[in-house]
Symmetry: C2
Subunit: 309 residues, 2 copies
Amino acid sequence: MERNQKVVLGLGQCSFDLLGSLACYPQLDQKVELNSLLLQGGGPVATALVTLARLGVQTKILSRIGDDHFAHLIRSGLEREGVDCLHLSFDRRQTSQLAFIAIDQSGHRNVFWHRGTARALQADQLPLDVIGSAAVLHLDGLHITPSVVAAQAARQNGVVTVLDGGTLRTDTEKLLPLIDHMVVSQTFARQVAGHDLFKALDKLSAWNAEAVTITLGREGSLTRLQDGTCFRQPAFRVEAVDTTGCGDVFHGGYIYGLLQQWPMCDVVRFAAACAALKTRAVGGRTAIPTLQDVERLLQSQHGGRQGHE
Amino acid sequence: MERNQKVVLGLGQCSFDLLGSLACYPQLDQKVELNSLLLQGGGPVATALVTLARLGVQTKILSRIGDDHFAHLIRSGLEREGVDCLHLSFDRRQTSQLAFIAIDQSGHRNVFWHRGTARALQADQLPLDVIGSAAVLHLDGLHITPSVVAAQAARQNGVVTVLDGGTLRTDTEKLLPLIDHMVVSQTFARQVAGHDLFKALDKLSAWNAEAVTITLGREGSLTRLQDGTCFRQPAFRVEAVDTTGCGDVFHGGYIYGLLQQWPMCDVVRFAAACAALKTRAVGGRTAIPTLQDVERLLQSQHGGRQGHE
């Protein structure tokens, strides 16, 4: 099988976001007029792929969505960014995942989301040859059986696996031994080991990942390598307008760094810079940076380098 | 000009509603999964016309919407109900009015709405011959200049004018002398005369409307006729799931009653029955009743007749 060193494959849920900006939240039984309304594709893996595409990386999405109006907007949004949608299929007469996100003036937000009725890709529908020839497989782990099958195919073919862990589910453990890089939310870490983040890093590292990172929003992130080294990357200070999709963009930047075979501290620093730049505008994808944007931020903030702990 | 006694014409804003049901409202910076999501056309006049169409009346909408995905859903939703959309035009490259409505288990709701960028119909774009030959012209008064021109054309041709008064605006007074039936919200009434509803009825009647009604939700409605008679219509007791569009459906039922030339107390009682039946399901239009539904409720609740005050 020929390895395409440059392709990142993503297997995960795609959604459609309606992002409304408002002065302040309405009281119960009140109406509030939105100052602006933005319609945009979303979903953790999909937005990570868009990030990689903006950074110049070839990407492919593996997913199934409904065949409603939003499905077509999801697909055209990805195609416009250059994400290969050959393996993004429509589930007939089903609806796609949709989110309404209300963002107030201070950047706080509420997310109302609906799962939709489209069924996830089944394990026997996965293009294993495509998976086996990629450089990286990025997973959200939301649908465990196809995720495990895809990760096994990746591992058998030396494809690097990256997990975006949002919430720990009953059967997530089936996937963890197959993951090279876990980049998980604070919620996920707390489910693993309560408030002790270092304990969570240790427990997750025991599954043999090369690196485990917990993203902490404004508090930056915490990483543990397989040799036991830990380091903290502070968040870059920017005027945040909207944090929607920040974690997803972090994953995109992280995978970009892996492709460059940088030291892990540089990988995480690059990811943090991508996530910070994303917050400049409303929408999960609006302000996703180009390589030039990220390089400019990194050069301007040499003082922001991570400290080892 | 030949009078088409059976056509009700509506001039007003059309919108598109996304209605999400949830267990309870999320805290700030939290996500909440919706139990269900319903997509449906909305807008006061448009929903009143749908009510009339379900009751078997011929209806036509005069309005302009964007030409986005939602515009096409708005139009197809009205066409499916049998509302004539010959005078519903698309404003190129503009967006339509959109609302996200969150409804909790107790039927309380928050409405987040966006005006959209589509421009309203201009006065010189109104089909005055169509207006002049209708039986009733229903207006929301949101765009005053075209509303006044349409109401003048109606009045010159003996067409009955009905106003859905949601909010009193600076120039609403230009329209009031041209209105035969004012059916206004409690908000509108308070803007006219503070908390004294009877004073609001008197002040509004001074513009020479045949009847003025204030709708009061669960408290029913209060009507004043031109001769000074006032009566209260209690709300029909139903298990309310969602009150979205209740007022709009009340207007539809009210106009149906006018077309039958019933005594005003019967007109308002019929309107109240329509509005009550509407609340049976989520969505402004889902449970809009047929004539048979309304008749059944009216027969079953003879005790619910209005008391004169």
